[in-house]
Amino acid sequence: MTDALNTWTARAIRTMIVVGIAVLVAGLLLDHEVMMWVGLGTVIASPFAGLLVSLAMLIRERDLWWAAVAGALVALLVGRLLLTLV
């Protein structure tokens, strides 16, 4: 049922969210604002990290149609982020 795309995407999301939560907890315990900022940033970035890993896996598997879909989505999100921040 699961292939490399699923395995690596899940691994990327889980690593990011677990690290983010761990840094957050440490930041809360130490009352350290920078650690909380980094922790929250890591939590927020976890779906995007999963998306980038999906894109990389699709390119690696030469599943080019789906890689183009993932690439278009990455471009859209980056564009939207830049529009929001600028």
Binding site: T7, R11, I13, L28, S46, F48, G50, W66
Partner: protein
């Protein structure tokens, strides 16, 4: 921080995370009013904290659902493109629209979808084996057997997801609540795949908004942190619960959840919950 507030934030996070893990929704409709009314955050702070809770719940649930193969990454990526474009259009035209009218339309739509899901006896599973194609995917049915489903109305899903993205961008609610019924009832995606794929998608949808809030300094760190921690563990619990539900029951519960959501949003809109 007051321990009661701390426990309250974790409890809200866990509750929304459980619902997100079961139904594939973000939980913004739960987070925002509670953060406004109980914890007295400003609307912008509540929206920022809610988005972070949604992402944490989505990441927790999807990391489990993707690994088990229940969440369909390819389908999620495809639908997310039109949703993201819809969100951009929605943000651009939001100033010209009356969001109260849109919210009322949204309430009618999700109530109608909820009733249809309650009455529909199928879980979205097709009995015949579909032919191979770009939009034919494997999934595990309730008995644990690997079967395949073919996504129907692929082209028709594009404007629907565009509309879903626009509505959720303008009103701030409803991403998952609209996408799950579209996937299940219109596109023939099995309900468990639809909810799991939606869990994956909502994190990506919320990503840009949350980054913008974090950079602009609107986020109240302690509140967002405890909500995120609660939502993460709640979502994993929600996924475990959803595994014990068969497709038909999950669909029925989703219908009840949508009707409850419609009533809550309506009460909020007419000022009863203020």
């Amino acid at each position: 921080m007051d321990p009661i507030i701390l426990l309250g934030l974790i409890a809200v996070g866990i509750g929304a995370g459980i619902l997100g893990g079961i139904f594939g929704v973000g939980g913004g409709v739960i987070f925002v009013p509670i953060l406004l009314l109980v914890f007295h955050l400003s609307p912008a702070e509540a929206a920022a904290t809610s988005l972070i809770g949604i992402i944490s719940g989505s990441a927790g649930a999807s990391s489990v659902q993707i690994r088990s193969g229940r969440s369909n990454i390819r389908l999620g990526l495809f639908l997310e493109i039109s949703t993201a474009i819809g969100a951009i259009i929605g943000a651009a035209i939001a100033v010209y629209l009356d969001d109260h009218v849109l919210i009322l339309i949204f309430v009618v739509v999700i109530a109608a979808m909820g009733i249809k899901m309650l009455l529909d006896r199928k879980a979205g599973d097709r009995s015949s084996e579909p032919e191979d194609g770009r939009f034919t995917f494997p999934y595990e049915d309730d008995s644990g057997e690997t079967r395949r489903f073919k996504v129907e109305h692929v082209k028709g899903s594009v404007p629907l997801c565009l509309g879903a993205g626009m509505v959720s961008s303008i009103t701030g609610i409803g991403g998952g609540a609209i996408k799950v019924p579209i996937m299940n009832m219109y596109m023939g995606v099995p309900i468990k795949v639809a909810t799991a794929t939606s869990s994956y998608m909502i994190g990506i949808t919320a990503f840009t908004g949350a980054i913008a809030y974090l950079v602009s300094g609107i986020v109240v760190f302690e509140y967002a942190a405890w909500i995120a921690i609660g939502a993460f563990f709640g979502s994993i619990l929600g996924v475990a619960i959803s595994r014990r539900l068969d497709g038909r029951r999950l669909k029925r519960y989703f219908g009840i959840f949508m009707l409850t959501m419609a009533v809550l949003i309506l009460l909020q809109e007419v000022g009863v919950l203020d």
